[in-house]
Symmetry: C2
Subunit: 67 residues, 2 copies
């Protein structure tokens, strides 16, 4: 399966926190608002923008919209 783990980091931070694992679908729902759906059907809403994606390593990093 080719899902990815989505991590969230604050601006200017090196700390990456796991936000949702085994993500299958990522759908934009507005300005810097994203719906994430895992292969298990779990859904979470994320506020931020994509910082990097590395699909072979199953890693997608979002930077939080907050401070």
């Amino acid at each position: 399966m080719c899902e990815a783990n989505v991590y969230l980091t604050a601006r200017d931070s090196q700390i990456e926190t796991l936000f949702l694992e085994a993500v299958d679908q990522i759908i934009p729902e507005g300005l810097e608002i994203w719906r994430l759906i895992s292969i298990f059907g779990e859904q979470k809403i994320l506020a931020g923008h994509i910082k990097s994606m590395n699909l072979v390593n199953h890693r997608i990093i979002f930077e939080s919209s907050g401070a």
Copy 2:
């Protein structure tokens, strides 16, 4: 391998054109500017925003910034 194929569509169009296959990395380079790097090392720059991602199906759709 868990790369994805990146497709590009125009606004309000249902036609999806393959932009780059076997994409590993996607890195933002500015407002609606993205660097795509395939598992073969091929790089392309895309202007647009993410419309949908379906990782299990290896499909990432961008909507072009142009008309």
